[in-house]
Amino acid sequence: MRNSGQRTKADTIATLKHYSAVILLVIMLLLNLVITPNFFKVGTVWNIVTQTCTIILTGMGMTAVISTGGIDISVGAVMALAGIISAKLLETVGLVPAIIIAVLICSISGMIAGFMVGKLKVQAMVVTLALMIGVRGVAQLINDAKIFYITGAHADTYKMLGTAKIGGVLPIQAIIIVVAVVITWFILEKTILGRHIQAVGDNPRSALLAGISATKTLMFVYIYSAVFAAFAGVVASAKIGAADGNSLGLLAELDAIAAVAVGGTSMSGGRAKVFGTVIGALIMQLINITVNMNNITYEYAQVFKAIIIVFAVYIQRDKAA
């Protein structure tokens, strides 16, 4: 429609809608430029990058899951499990094996979700809700619901995962974000698997008739989400230097869902917008930072966040839906 040469009013509106998340981000940046002192300093920019890392990591998995028409609300609990397993194993098995074991254990959670959604055809939300409750319980059990402070021989290398700065400026999170986004973008946009994911989300019946195995696709998507959530948990626990089964990743699933929705991925599936999710995550984090740097109380931030989420999703919803 937009390639027809002439631009009508409807086209302009469609274009605006298409880029509405970007426009919102720019507006928020400009607003901050005016009202927030010291906003455009290098430190602030890196600060935003470091703090968005977990939202983007969980958001990448969530984008894949939501574009199949499902949802994964267990990511926060999986983050806690990964954080506490890797922190606890660090002393005995070393850095890399600890992380690998944590990710593998967390991928079991994804496997259960994928199996139940894909094979047993249970609604994604119930399955991941049960996993959210259960996995959170396991994470609490591992250290008796106490905070585990990371100490010992490998502690410093582990903490580097959350605090290192390459060349003294570029935080390691920036690299992690780029790698995660590129992998997700490549899988969703450039591979057959990615087409399958969106086809299953768009119309499961016709995907079935086209010979796409929904079970395999869904298995992949939920394991993918769990693996990314596990990495997010590792990074988050490395950044604070401690792992807490109670609070690590609490409500992270809601941040991730909000980022995905604000970024323009349709909640009913069939349309994945990887970069939209990145922008959505940045918007969510920008709200927090605006509020912090202007000494606005946290409660106003929540109300403000609520209004922005509703507004952003409202302007880019499908008319036909």
Binding site: I71, I112, M116, K119, L120, K121, V122, Q123, M125, V126, V127, L129, A130, L131, M132, I133, G134, V135, R136, G137, V138, Q140, L141, D144, A145, R205, G245, L254, I257, A258, A261, M267, S268, T297, Y298, E299, Y300, A301, Q302, V303, K305, A306, I307, I309, V310, V313, Y314, R317, D318, A321
Partner: protein, 326 residues
């Protein structure tokens, strides 16, 4: 249909009741010295069922039946309790009306966002949850509001003929919900909208209005839960009901309410509420057991129960469906 199939079908359709019975038998054997299976102890279970999110689950069932979700119930619970504490200490009626009114208002706004603005119910109610919780923290300054009026206190603590008022309220509310869902036009249309929205629209149902009504009921029950909880504890906590929305959804899921909408009964939710209350009580009784096992058991139980209810266990039925679809 063979007899075996018939029996297995009956059991899977009544799996919530079955699970409850198994749990009751198990706990009455395990805690026989402490008289688990006695009237006061069972009353205690009932009271727990009502105060730990039972009403939220009833409200949530309305929303789930139309195929949507409401994450804001926990926050609305806190808001209504706090407002009742603020207005109700001089004039209890005003307090109750303020509490219930704000719940209904939140439900209306949720319904409006979902039905008229066509925002996904996840996002709409998530925003509502953040916003309402923010408002609660703002108006209370993060301090609990004490409930000093005796009328409001008795709202959560009175008992009639030895039966706690919360238990009576829960049963009465369940019966009302069952009546609404079975015998009214609104109840029937909820199932229609949840089952197939397009078809419901073509049948001439006012889908938007039904959605808003379902959300309003959900808000009303969340507010009722808030009022009763605040009355029972003599204070309204600003962080009351935090993460209770997940418990409420789990209660519905355990009760066999299909989370994609259109299938499920309020009686099922009622048994789901009881199951979670019994689990909670078991963990209270087994004092030496690590209480974090509670989450693990609850998660596993929900997984098992939905696995049993899934279509794979009704092969013949799903195959027939498949043929019809093709």
């Amino acid at each position: 249909m063979s007899k075996v199939k018939k029996i297995s079908n009956w059991f899977s359709s009544k799996s919530a009741i079955l699970a409850l019975l198994i749990l009751l038998v198990f706990s009455s054997i395990a805690f026989s010295q402490r008289n688990f299976f006695s009237v006061p102890s069972l009353m205690n279970v009932g009271r727990k069922a009502a105060s730990d999110g039972g009403f939220l689950a009833l409200g949530m069932t309305f929303v789930i039946l139309i195929g949507q979700i409401d994450l804001s119930v926990g926050a609305v619970l806190a808001l209504s309790g706090v407002l009742m504490g603020m207005f109700g200490n001089e004039n209890p009626l005003l307090g109750i009306l303020a509490g219930l009114g704000v719940g209904i208002g939140c439900g209306l706004v949720n319904g409006f966002m979902v039905a008229k603005m066509r925002i996904s119910s996840w996002i709409a109610s998530l925003a509502m949850m953040l916003g309402v919780r923010g408002i609660v923290l703002l108006i209370t300054n993060q301090k609990p509001v004490s409930i000093s009026n005796p009328v409001l206190q008795s709202l959560g603590n009175a008992s009639f003929f030895g039966v706690h008022i919360l238990v009576i309220m829960l049963i009465v509310c369940t019966l009302i919900c069952m009546y609404i869902s079975r015998n009214t036009k609104f109840g029937m249309s909820m199932y229609a909208v949840g089952g197939n929205e397009e078809a419901a629209k073509m049948m001439g149902l006012k889908v938007a209005r039904i959605k808003i009504a379902a959300y309003t009921w959900c808000g009303f029950f969340a507010a009722l839960a808030g009022i009763l909880l605040a009355g029972r504890l003599y204070t309204a906590q600003p962080n009351a009901g935090d993460t209770w929305e997940t418990t409420a959804i789990a209660m519905c899921a355990l009760g066999g309410v299909k989370l994609s909408g259109g299938e499920g009964k309020f009686s099922g939710t009622f048994f789901g509420i009881l199951i979670i209350a019994v689990i909670n009580t078991i963990f209270n009784y087994a004092g030496n057991l690590n209480s974090w096992w509670q989450n693990v058991v609850m998660g596993a139980l929900v997984l098992i129960s939905i696995g049993v209810q899934s279509e794979v266990f009704h092969m013949h039925r799903s195959k027939r469906k498949e043929v019809q679809k093709c």
